[in-house]
């Protein structure tokens, strides 16, 4: 909507003059860099970009991006974003939230924005802890998490963000982690998807939940711990150089996934699944794949666009208004009327 001379932007153009107030070493810094690196590459313009957030460490994000930004109230960012996008569908809307903001207090709104399929990018920073309120366990914390509010360990079962998103009807589900070099690619895919694009970003809270994802994010664990999915490519992981390649195959008896060894690179012989981002059944299995027995599925798990909410609303508004000339005088004069003559 802004006909400005195209200027090539750099990550620097997306930095604000605000002092970043996250803890030194926080994973959020790496995510901020990844986003600032991504935005110029996707051709975004600061004037047309809106970052909407709720409350929590992650939700300070808009203050650090040189665009329009709205830091709203706890858990409600999806609802604000819905109003923004319906009022002006040409805006490029990003939602930044966390595991507490997006899945606890705001779980309801998260479900509805996904089922409605509002065109936006939803970045859920999952650090499995409440950071800004000083370390209480969150809805994604693993059972037994000791925190100020659970000194004897948490007893409730954690929510799985990607499974929640898919179950809510999301048409795009992806995963990445803060320091991953591949995060910008995941963000680009999310942006390219027309509709609600849900991205779970594992984020290291170095103060309250340090290294909770180290089992797959650390370099030494990357080969065995990370399964980077690519559409049309076999699901392979492991150290391919030393020949310990593994793959994901379907256990046809149990209708579950299984890890198989790939001998001499012959993944076809091992019946390794070729990733299809439009296969919803497969996506359901990937989001439920238990880490430990399996690697962590990363990248784009599911991407199958459907008509968006704002386009449906606009189309219906236009259809309902078609052929009707707005006339406020006529409107107030409608219904059963009568005239009182001059006495």
């Amino acid at each position: 909507m802004n006909d400005m001379t195209p200027i090539t932007l750099t990550p620097k153009d997306w930095e604000t003059d605000q002092e970043v107030r996250w803890c030194p070493g926080c994973g959020d810094y790496a995510i901020l860099k990844a986003v600032q690196r991504t935005l110029p590459e996707i051709g975004a313009t600061p004037a047309n970009t809106v970052f909407v957030s709720g409350i929590g460490c992650s939700s300070r994000f808009p203050y650090y991006i040189e665009s329009y930004g709205f830091h709203t109230i706890h858990g409600r960012a999806p609802a604000f974003a819905t109003g923004v996008k319906l009022a002006n569908p040409s805006l490029d809307v990003w939602i930044v939230t966390g595991d507490g903001d997006g899945l606890s207090i705001g779980g309801n709104h998260m479900m509805h924005i996904l089922r409605r399929n509002l065109d936006c990018q939803i970045l859920l920073f999952n650090n499995e802890i409440y950071g800004l309120t000083k370390g209480q366990y969150s809805p994604t914390s693993r059972e037994g998490t000791r925190s100020p509010s659970t000194p004897f360990g948490s007893v409730d079962h954690p929510a799985k963000p990607a499974a929640f998103a898919l179950g809510s009807g999301a048409r795009f589900v992806a995963r990445g982690f803060d320091v991953s070099k591949k995060l910008p690619d995941v963000l680009k895919a999310a942006h390219a998807h027309k509709g609600a694009a849900f991205v779970e970003i594992f984020q290291n809270c170095i103060v309250y939940n340090k290294d909770v994802f180290a089992d797959f994010t650390e370099k030494k664990n990357a080969d065995e711990g990370q399964l980077w999915l690519e559409n049309g490519k076999p699901m392979l992981f492991g150290n391919m150089k030393v020949g310990s390649t593994k793959g994901i195959a379907l256990d046809r008896q149990k209708l579950t996934l299984k890890v198989v060894d790939v001998v001499d690179g012959d993944w076809q012989a091992a019946d390794v699944i070729v990733h299809d981002v439009t296969n919803r059944s497969l996506a359901h299995m990937l989001v439920e794949m238990p880490f430990g027995l399996f690697p962590m599925a990363l990248g784009v798990l599911y991407d199958d666009p459907a008509p968006t909410f704002e386009s449906a609303v606009i189309a219906q508004n236009a259809m309902a208004a078609k052929g009707k000339v707005p006339d406020i005088q006529k409107l107030v004069s409608q219904g059963q009327t009568w005239t009182v003559a001059k006495a």
């Binding site: 909507m1 802004n2 604000t16 605000q18 004037a47 047309n48 809106v50 409350i55 808009p62 203050y63 040189e66 665009s67 329009y68 930004g69 709205f70 830091h71 709203t72 109230i73 706890h74 409600r76 999806p78 609802a79 604000f80 974003a81 819905t82 109003g83 923004v84 996008k85 319906l86 009022a87 002006n88 040409s90 805006l91 309801n108 709104h109 479900m111 509805h112 609303v313 219906q316 508004n317 236009a318 309902a320 208004a321 009707k324 000339v325 707005p326 406020i328 005088q329 409107l331 107030v332 004069s333 219904g335 059963q336 009327t337 009568w338 005239t339 009182v340 003559a341 001059k342 006495a343």
Partner: protein
């Protein structure tokens, strides 16, 4: 003096000397279609040129168990040839479709008033459900009233026989038979109702025909039957048209008037409207009305909850439309935090609160004025917000426009208070001439500012600029954290919070310079007694003060539209009276605010029964205050 003209037994129904006002109440089972009957009778009344006011009173349950006392649904209408501002204190005529309806309503009927009862429903089963040990139609217990009882059910069945409906469906035409009789009683034209039935049942003409036949049969019964019993002979009553200024009129409910006012307001502001709502009684009607008005730049969004409804509206305001949300007490409570954000981010927003009895779920379908504290004070922090209140269905139109004007001129959320009574009640409305309204178009900041852009810079009214996302060169961030003066950057310093709190307060208080001085409705400044009201108590207060003044009492009526900030002259005006009495359908909320603001001895007159004030109740309080 119109509202409660006596229809004594000797003139009604025996000798029909035209009264200048009549109160009729239709009461039946919640499945009997009493609201529909009342609505159509209202239409015919309006078309006959009478002034009128209605009071629909129905249970919270959609179809409460048949025949029960709590399942009774009633519709009262007061109509006359003079100025009508209330639904009337006590009915002259009660139409009771079953024993429960009789039992719960007859107590309100004037002595000598007329009961029309359907004997077909006064069987043992229904009598037991209504907890009657004997049939009141036969045991003489209704002696102080006139009774016309006959088998409406049977007559309805006979009238619709040719259409081959099932028994249940046929009996559902009972309300139209009754309406037909009522139309005859008050000398009304049937054609508008026939037209309405034809269009309502366009898809099943046989139902239209059956209902029309029932309507005609009821009318013919009045015309031809000699109604026996105690020698009663029902006669027609013609209530003359009320004198009214020349022009085009229509009936309007509060919910309709608010919807139309919001559309008119956004048109005057040259803005599209975004309405975020969530279903709640009695506010949903506004969402229903607006959802049909897309051609006026209206987008309606039924959100997943009350919080999402207001949040989406604020998001839309941020993006450059006028965000509007609407609810009732419990939903308004849920929206409180988001209102604080709108105050902090200084975005325009209109919040309509159709008040109902509380706290908690309270009385979903009954009226109350008990959200005044919530409107003025009900948020965390020092969170000033303008509040205005509508006095009647028709007044709600102008109030909605005023809410839009204040919200956009001052970059602030505004709460518009109405209540269940105003939302559902109908009254005649002189269709406004839209050309007589001065537009107040909004100006967005669109150009880069040479001296540097200050998102929280302010104009002479202390309003900050409205900048739409999408505007090049004016990117900025807003949020709920305290802002630095001018720049809007995050800033927690003590002096800054002091300054910003005062700015937010002064901006809202400054609206007092932009609203009319408080007028005296009836009477004059100074004197023995002022009755100070707000909202839907207008009608009964107005009539009570008129009557008291007719008796020579020194009493004036002051009615507030602006609850916050209050008009600049209000303090001096209040202090010019010896006594101030504040009738409210709560336990004294405006009374407390007046005491706080002006240190005046405002005295409460409270009613929290879920029913509007009766004129007589306020009249008695006036007498007592001046005794």
């Amino acid at each position: 003096m119109a509202t409660v003209a006596q229809i004594t037994p000797d003139i009604m129904p025996m000798a029909p000397i035209a009264p200048d006002a009549v109160v009729v109440r239709f009461a039946g089972d919640s499945g009997d279609g009493m609201q529909l009957t009342g609505g159509q009778f209202t239409l015919s009344t309006a078309l006959a040129g009478n002034d009128l006011s209605t009071f629909p009173d129905f249970p919270a349950e959609i179809r409460a168990p048949q025949g029960t006392l709590f399942g009774v649904s009633a519709f009262q209408i007061n109509f006359g040839s003079t100025d009508i501002t209330t639904a009337g204190d006590a009915p002259d005529v009660l139409v009771a479709m079953n024993p429960a309806a009789l039992k719960t309503n007859v107590i309100d009927l004037k002595p000598g008033g007329l009961i029309i009862a359907d004997t077909g429903e006064f069987n043992d089963r229904n009598l037991a459900k209504a907890k009657y040990t004997a049939n009141p139609l036969e045991d003489g217990s209704l002696a102080k009233w006139q009774l016309l009882s006959f088998d409406i059910s049977q007559r309805t069945l006979e009238s619709v026989k040719p259409f081959g409906l099932g028994n249940k469906e046929a009996l559902r035409c009972k309300n139209m038979w009754t309406l037909g009789l009522a139309l005859w009683m008050f000398d009304r034209d049937r054609q508008p109702i026939v037209d309405w039935l034809t269009s309502k049942f366009a898809k099943s003409p046989v139902l239209a025909d059956a209902n029309i036949a029932a309507l005609n049969a009821g009318h013919a019964y009045g015309e031809t039957a000699e109604i026996g019993g105690g020698g009663l002979d029902l006669k027609q009553l013609h209530v003359a048209a009320a004198p009214a200024p020349a022009g085009l009129y229509r009936t309007v409910t509060g919910a309709e008037a608010i919807s139309l006012g919001l559309v008119a307001g956004t048109q005057l502001a040259s803005l599209p409207m975004f309405f975020g709502g969530y279903p709640i009684t009695p506010a949903s009607a506004i969402l229903h009305h607006l959802s049909r008005l897309k051609e006026y730049g209206v987008t309606t969004f039924q959100a997943e909850d009350e919080i999402a409804a207001i949040s989406s509206a604020i998001g839309a305001s941020y993006a450059g439309q006028l965000g509007v949300t609407s609810s009732s007490g419990p939903g308004i409570a849920l929206k409180g935090e988001a209102m604080g954000l709108a105050i902090m981010t200084e975005l325009p927003l209109v919040i309509v609160n159709s008040q109902r009895g509380g706290p908690s779920t309270g009385l979903p379908t009954k009226t109350e004025q008990s959200d005044l504290y919530q409107a003025v004070y009900g948020r965390n922090g020092d969170a000033p917000m303008p509040v205005i209140a509508a006095r009647s269905p028709a007044d709600a139109f102008d109030c909605a426009i005023e809410a839009v004007r204040i919200a956009t001129r001052y970059m602030t959320p505004v709460m518009l208070l109405t209540d269940g009574y105003i939302a559902n009640a109908a009254e005649p409305w002189k269709v406004p001439d839209m050309a007589s309204y001065t537009p107040f178009p909004v100006t967005f900041m669109e150009e880069p500012q040479e001296s540097g852009f200050l998102p929280y810079g302010r104009d002479e009214k202390l309003a900050r600029p409205w900048v739409k996302p999408g505007t090049p060169g004016l990117m900025h961030r807003i949020g709920g954290i305290e802002k630095q003066v001018d720049t809007g950057h995050i800033e927690y310093s003590p002096a800054n919070h002091q300054a910003m709190t005062e700015l937010r307060r002064d901006k809202v208080l400054g609206i007092a310079n932009d609203i009319p001085d408080q007028a005296v409705e009836i009477g004059q400044a100074g004197g023995k007694l002022a009755i100070v009201g707000w909202g839907s108590t207008f009608g009964p207060i107005y009539q009570a003060v008129r009557r008291a003044r007719a008796k020579g009492l020194d009493v004036s009526h002051i009615h507030l539209r602006y609850i916050w900030p209050m008009p600049k002259n209000l303090g001096d005006l209040l202090k010019s009276y010896d006594t101030i009495l504040v009738p409210e359908m709560n336990t004294g909320q405006l009374k407390t605010v007046l005491r706080d603001q002006y240190l005046v001895d405002a005295r409460p007159l409270n009613k929290v029964s879920g029913q509007p004030f009766r004129i007589a109740e306020i009249e008695a309080a006036i007498d007592a205050a001046l005794a």
